[in-house]
Amino acid sequence: MNLKDVLSPLYVWKRAFEKPYTIRTEKEPRPGADRYRGFHQNDTEKCIGCGSCAEICQNESIDMIPVSETKDGDSGLRPRIDYGRCCWCALCVDICPSSSLTMSNAYTWIEEGLDKDTRETFCFTPGVDEKPWDNDEKGYRRPDGYDLSLLERVEMEELSPAERVTSFIEMVKGFSKEQAKREADRCIECGICTATCPGHMDIPGYIRAIREDDIEKGIEILYKTNPLPGVCGRICTRRCEDVCSLSLRGEAVSIRWLKRYLTDSAEAGKYRDLLHDEVVSSGKKVAIVGTGPGGLSAAYYLLRMGHEVEIFEQNEAAGGMLRYGIPEYRLPYGSLDNDINFIIELGAKLHLNTKVGKDISFDKLYKEFDAIFTSVGLTDSYKIGIEGEELPGVTTGLTVLKAVTMGQDPKLGDHIVVIGGGNVAMDAARTARHLGVDVTVVYRRRLEDMPADSDEIKEAIEENVEFITQGIPLKIEEGANGKLNFIWGKAEMVDNGSGKRPSPVLIEGSREVMEVTKVIAAIGQGANYGWLEGETTKQVKLGKRNIEADRWGKTDDPKIYVGGDMFNKTADAISAIADGHRSARAIDSYLAGEEYPKDRF
């Protein structure tokens, strides 16, 4: 023990004359750091209630509870956080696909505990229940350069525009197993897509099956709600992808291509093995008019329910609009045949070239069958309503598409104009391009107003289809050399203030002339009820475009059901499939004498 050791500790007294370390927090607590992970904030406007936060929370501290009206792509649920469970790991913030969930830097929440059930305390729904930290600027946000979500799609290989215009080979190559698994891996299984899908396909379910490389399981899931997966995997309008949670910040999961991958990877002959449930014959007979997606879907499910099914088709092949309205480069006939053949194999009796109302009367059907499902679609193209429409060079999009399908030459010449901006217009235009014709599309509104699929428009542009937007057709005149003079005028968009989209108004005096070989009108189709006439159909109320029925497709005559484009307003394949499925269930319960179907198939 030397003297230095005794004296040097007294150095501590130096600190007595310095400022204390203590921070004074009596009046106002020290705020947390800028990145501090404090209590949650939720921008309820941005939140879509996908539940990923609840999914990733290992403590089950996040409950999704209903707070608002369910909107499209919004489940109406909002996360409620239980701070008796939370561990402030902020994984919920990191995973949030909409970036709505964040954390403030507030950290003090004190509750009296005595004599109070804590079951309800320390739980709150950020953004809904008011808290002092709701508007705090600082706090944890997902840092730059770090993101748990996989926002980029797996690149899908496509034929280049130059390659694809030369033939009708399917332009999208499809996923390899590796790619499909990677793409399937992106899904966060929120299920918003399932609800949005008109057919309520279990999308997360079959994506999971792909991820786990269980193709059979995937096919089984597909067939539960969609008997035409091969078709849908290619041409579905995929409203599911529009609402996909990932699409809020990045690219939606390629649900359509994944479905296609599933059907492509399975052998068509094996489908039958996947149907495990026994079919008990009911002895009832159902007639189905039309072999579009609605009719095929209804046929499949009715067969699975044990009913005898006969299908009537006016054309020489089944498929309806799928076959005659969609060009081959989008939907190869092979895929379509696969799906149709499977349904026929299950025991449906198919009458081709049999037009109801002509070859067989509707009354006869009504008497012979226990129920009738009709889904003939919209077949009559709308007229443009301008002078010169009756000229021989003027035709419709559907005519062209059908002719191409049937292997006939539509005789388009070298430059055509397509009027309209819908999918049929695009198909017609692109089909013409594939035949080597120069195409100009004239549309009344702007490019962004086009009802056609954005991919279609993009691809059409890539294939050098010329677009004239805000162009109003005025007149078609006969021109030189058997050509036509297509006269159109420029329009401007006028907002009429009614809250609707602005409408195009012709600019006074604007008049332009284009020399074309053919004019193709593709501005929409209407229904043709000619075949429906008869004694037994008096009760069925016909609307302008749709037949009136309840949401099960049941008309006022309980024996007659409708579906497909002639029933729903969305007019796409998946809606028709959903209609078929729904009506099949309704028919099933009608035949069994029950009121309405109770459970899902």
């Binding site: 203590t22 607590p29 701070y83 008796g84 469970r85 561990c87 009296e112 505990g113 005595l114 804590t118």
Partner: protein, 233 residues
Amino acid sequence: MIDKDKYKDVNPVEEEVKTLESPKNNWYVDEKTLANADLPEEEREWFSDARPQVVPPIRWTPMEKFLNWARAKSLWILAFGTGCGAIELRPLLTARYDISRFGMAPRPTPRQASVFMIGGYVSLKTLKRIVRSYEQMQGPKFVVAVCSCAINGGMYWDSYNTIKRIDNYIPVDVYVTGCMPRPEAVLSGFQKLQQLIMDGKAEGQNLYAEKFDWYKANQKKVIKDWNMPDYNW
């Protein structure tokens, strides 16, 4: 003053009496005394037979107010780091946050301490010690539970060895949530407790005495080898 009728419906003792019939669990039969029946003869004498009693506050309000002020301004914390919450107790006690400014100080023995800080999750083994320590503290005594684990299980909601809600086992006055709550948050919790004491609301000790049977039933439900007296003063 604690209203006895208030707890009538939450007190499940009546049902307990019917359901628990094994001789091991007959401690509730006699209202007045605790039968430390499982203990050996000579050990039984070491332990008190008395149940905890409700000690009402003094009737003369100004005096009680003054005493409550003294209690609030001199809170001695039991230095028992029951969980990871204890790690923030240390900064709290030391220079940076210096809880002694508010008259609080750590106290190593439960006899002298008046606040029990439950620092987070409580494992079964610790719960036993917590119950003992809590009962050894002299009233009025207060419990501050910090961390989310003490509220509803927190991270360890599915663990087989931690209890989820400490208020099933001892009465809690103030909760502070966080994982970990920052020292400032814990400090605010203590200040809240001071406020409660001064308002005469922190009557956990009396609550424990009143709902004693309920608390005991809960404790014995999870502590399988109950090898200590029912009440440790």
